[in-house]
């Protein structure tokens, strides 16, 4: 990568939402009380709009540059200069982060607008938007940070905002607990990230290039090829630890357990944080450090394996869920698994592309479900929904489009991105046939449960009317008529973003049409200068960036070669479409035409498989029993140890000291004092006797003198 171009406006992409958060956070209560909710909404949405405009400007500026020069830098200030660690606050934009900031600010902006409508009756309106803006600032810091430390600041910041927003309705303790669970599980992952970061810095410092600035790491990373750390190859260790952080943030096995619980937060939060942005941070991080991961094939294998297992496992759980948001939560975990599969087989661009398309259709799905929940006064159980397509047409059509996208039906966006991943899983040197097979099966299951959701919610007869369940205590029991009697479409400020996102779900797929279908791989080409060094096999390429241009030319040739080379790609493409159609057909038969009774499956084998899947394979219970209760038991044991043994020792020492001092006191009282008193009383006894010499009579004194003289006189004679 050649030298960056210095610009001064990147900092405002982050500072604008930060200022919005500060104003809303500190003054929001007063503003809302004085002037209502509109100023709050303006203060919140305007900065995001500013950030979006600046992101577009940055993107435009990059477009105008030659591919190997696409690199903007905005240095803010000195930060840490200790020893050989030099990190400054600086933000950079390259093709990868340009994509990310467009997604974050664009979809974030749409969700801000949606939230104005969704959270309309919320008294803590200002607090919600303060947190939402703060989240935007943190996420943008994560994406734009030019060093791993700045990235980590954003990483932690989004974790904090996620906690605050999940537990937004904190008065219900279940929500607060869900927020804590998210934060704690995240933290476990962050430990891995920090260890990886430290190990990386250590390794680089050992070879004389200690730095945490990403572009500098990229320059010198190949020198770490043979370094070892306590017997492990350093790149493998570092990347495994960083991946642990990614599993926490991006909800993969084993740290995904917080994401379904996070549905306790308001639906726009689920859409923004747990679909489009925060959970993708792990994928982004791997993409950003792809050159490092390319040096550690072991880690890539681990990533692919965990990714596909998570994808499959989460899809099976999603099949049995009855809460509209839980289905989407597990579907998010599953799709994130696909993204990690892509990263793990070396198809970094495909993973980022799936991140991009997923952001659109998943956000649309979540916002659509929010629209449904809002219209039904916080009813979330799909068994009490149905037939909503005639009451909420816009929500229905956008939801349907996004579901077709996630099911991987052409020509919607999900088809291109998911298919690319599956093809790379088969064909990449790091891929494997079983990954493809399991991935295709998961895609089929995805299609099934997503269409199950569509049919249960929007088709058939409306099964609602028992009044609102869920968080909705503020409505009491009145509603309109009794309970959720006659649902109606949501207001324009909510359906507007739905439409925009659905359009995205239709159109963005065409940004990366594979060569096999005559396309130009535009998205992948755009990302090539950043990700291409990662595509290269390790143990070569000492010039890093210079090779990128040559690689671009290679990639273009490769694309053309594909068309001639591999008809197998068409076969696989056809297979995945067929599987998706099969899933949709099964869902139609079970839930719409009702010709297959779902009870056949849920009661098969004594209902054990069904209940296992419904209870999410009891993973939460296992974690509770093993880790949580284990830790509590350990701490109780240690507390008892402290109380009995340690305190016992201390008290024992104190008791012995007291006994010794009592003995000493007695000795002091009787022996020592006795001796002193004895001396005193002897003196007094002598004194009493001697005193009698002092008679006061002059005579006796004179007699004494005379007798003394006589004695002296005659003493000589003796």
């Amino acid at each position: 990568m050649s030298d960056p171009i210095e610009v001064g406006y990147l900092r405002w992409i982050i500072l604008a939402p930060l200022i919005g958060a500060a104003i809303n956070g500190l003054l929001g209560a007063r503003i809302q009380k004085a002037a209502g909710k509109t100023p709050i909404a303006v203060i919140a949405c305007l900065p995001v709009l500013v950030s979006f405009v600046l992101s577009v400007v940055a993107f435009g500026q990059l477009l105008g540059l030659a591919p190997e020069q696409r690199f903007l830098l905005d240095s803010l200030s000195r930060w840490i200069h200790i020893g050989n660690l030099n990190v400054d606050f600086a933000f950079w934009v390259d093709p990868l982060s340009a994509v990310m900031i467009l997604v974050v600010t664009g979809i974030g902006g749409l969700i801000h607008l949606y939230s104005v409508g969704y959270m309309h009756e919320e008294p803590s309106f200002w607090r919600f938007f303060a947190y939402l803006n703060l989240f935007m600032a943190a996420m943008l810091t994560l994406v734009l940070g030019d060093s791993l430390l700045t990235l980590f600041v954003g990483w932690e910041g989004v974790g904090l905002c996620s906690y605050a927003l999940i537990g937004f309705w904190y008065k219900d303790i279940a929500n607060a607990t869900a927020g804590s669970k998210a934060f704690i599980v995240n933290r476990i992952g962050d430990f891995g990230f920090v260890v990886g970061m430290f190990a990386l810095f250590w390794g680089l410092a050992e070879i004389g290039h200690g730095t945490l600035v990403v572009r500098e790491i990229q320059q010198h990373a190949h020198l770490l090829q043979d370094k070892t750390f306590w017997g492990f190859a350093l790149p493998t260790f570092v990347t495994l630890m960083l991946f642990v952080g990614a599993t926490g943030k991006s909800a993969q096995i084993p740290l995904y357990v917080w994401l379904p619980d996070a549905m306790a937060g308001p639906t726009p939060v689920s859409a923004l944080i747990h679909a489009a942005t925060m959970v993708t941070a792990g994928v982004y991080m791997i993409g950003r450090l792809s050159f490092l991961f390319a040096m550690a094939p072991v880690t890539l294998g681990v990533i692919a394996t965990i990714g596909i297992l998570t994808a499959f496992f989460a899809a099976t759980v999603g099949v049995a869920q009855n809460d509209i948001k839980k289905v989407l939560a597990y579907s998010t975990v599953s799709q994130l698994g696909f993204m990690f599969v892509a990263m793990g087989v070396g198809a970094y661009a495909a993973g980022i592309f799936h991140l991009f398309t997923h952001a659109f259709f998943k956000a649309c799905l979540f916002l659509g479900s929010g629209s449904v929940i809002h219209a039904l006064h916080h009813e979330q159980d799909m068994r009490h929904m149905g037939g909503l397509k005639k009451y909420m047409p816009i929500t229905f059509w956008t939801f349907l489009i996004s579901t077709l996208a996630i099911a991987g039906m052409p020509p919607f966006a999900g088809f291109f991105s998911k298919d690319e991943i599956l093809w790379k899983a088969w064909s990449s040197p790091y891929g494997a046939g079983w990954i493809w097979a399991l991935g295709s099966l998961t895609a089929g299951i995805t299609a099934f449960y997503m269409f199950r959701q569509v049919f249960m919610v929007f088709f058939g007869e409306y099964r609602g009317g028992h009044g609102g369940h869920g968080h909705d205590d503020a409505h009491g029991g009145h509603g309109k008529g009794h309970g959720a009697h006659h649902p109606h479409e949501s207001p324009a400020i909510m359906t507007g973003p739905l439409v925009v996102l659905a359009l995205g779900a239709v159109l963005v797929g065409f940004l990366n049409v594979p060569g096999a279908l005559g396309g130009n791989h535009a998205f992948e080409t755009w990302l090539a200068p950043v990700l291409e060094p990662g595509h290269a096999a390790p143990a070569q390429d000492a010039h890093g960036a210079h090779g990128a241009v040559a690689k671009l030319e290679h990639a273009a040739e490769e694309t053309l070669h594909h068309v001639a080379h591999d008809p197998f790609e068409y076969i696989l493409m056809g297979v995945s479409v067929l599987i998706a159609l099969g899933g949709i057909l099964l869902a139609w038969l079970v839930y719409l035409r009702k010709s297959i009774d779902p009870a056949r499956f849920s009661e098969a084998w004594a209902g054990v498989p069904y209940r296992t899947v419904l209870e999410k394979y009891y993973v939460d219970e296992i974690y509770q029993a093993v880790f949580v209760n284990g830790t509590l038991a350990l701490s109780r044991f240690l507390a008892a140890f402290d109380r009995i043994v340690v305190d016992g020792l201390v008290n024992g020492v104190a008791m012995v000291t007291r006994w010794i001092s009592a003995a000493e006191g007695a000795f002091d009282r009787y022996v020592v004092d006795g001796f002193v008193n004895l001396v005193g009383s002897t003196t007094m006894w002598i004194g009493a006797r001697a005193r009698q010499v002092q008679t006061g009579h002059i005579y006796s004194y004179l007699y004494a003198i005379v007798i003394g003289v006589v004695v002296i006189m005659f003493a000589r004679l003796l």
């Binding site: 001697a690 005193r691 002092q694 008679t695 006061g696 009579h697 004179l702 005379v706």
Partner: protein, 102 residues
């Protein structure tokens, strides 16, 4: 009869004994002081006698002059003390000055 040394010594002794007796038996403070004078003068007699008969030169006689001077000073101080006693006790009877009893 030749008057020899021992005659003077005996006289001195007699004076000494009178002086001691006076000191020990007088109730009057001034009387006690007179007794002290007698004792001093007996010592003087001894000095003179040895100076005349002992062959020690005139040292004894010179020393007696010192003793006389000393006796005078001492009498002055003694009388001052007696005056003080009189002021305190309004009597010079030494039986009255027994307040320093132990």
């Amino acid at each position: 009869m030749e008057i020899g040394l021992h005659h003077f010594l005996v006289v001195g002794l007699v004076v000494f004994l009178c002086g001691v007796f006076t000191v020990l038996t007088r109730r009057n403070a001034i009387g006690i002081l007179m007794g002290v004078e007698l004792i001093l003068n007996s010592a003087n007699i001894n000095y003179i006698a040895f100076s005349r008969y002992g062959g020690g030169g005139y040292d004894g006689q010179v020393f007696s002059v010192f003793v006389i001077m000393l006796a005078a000073a001492e009498a002055a101080i003694g009388l001052a003390i007696v005056l003080g006693i009189y002021r305190q006790f309004e009597t010079i009877d030494v039986e009255a000055t027994d307040t320093l009893r132990g």
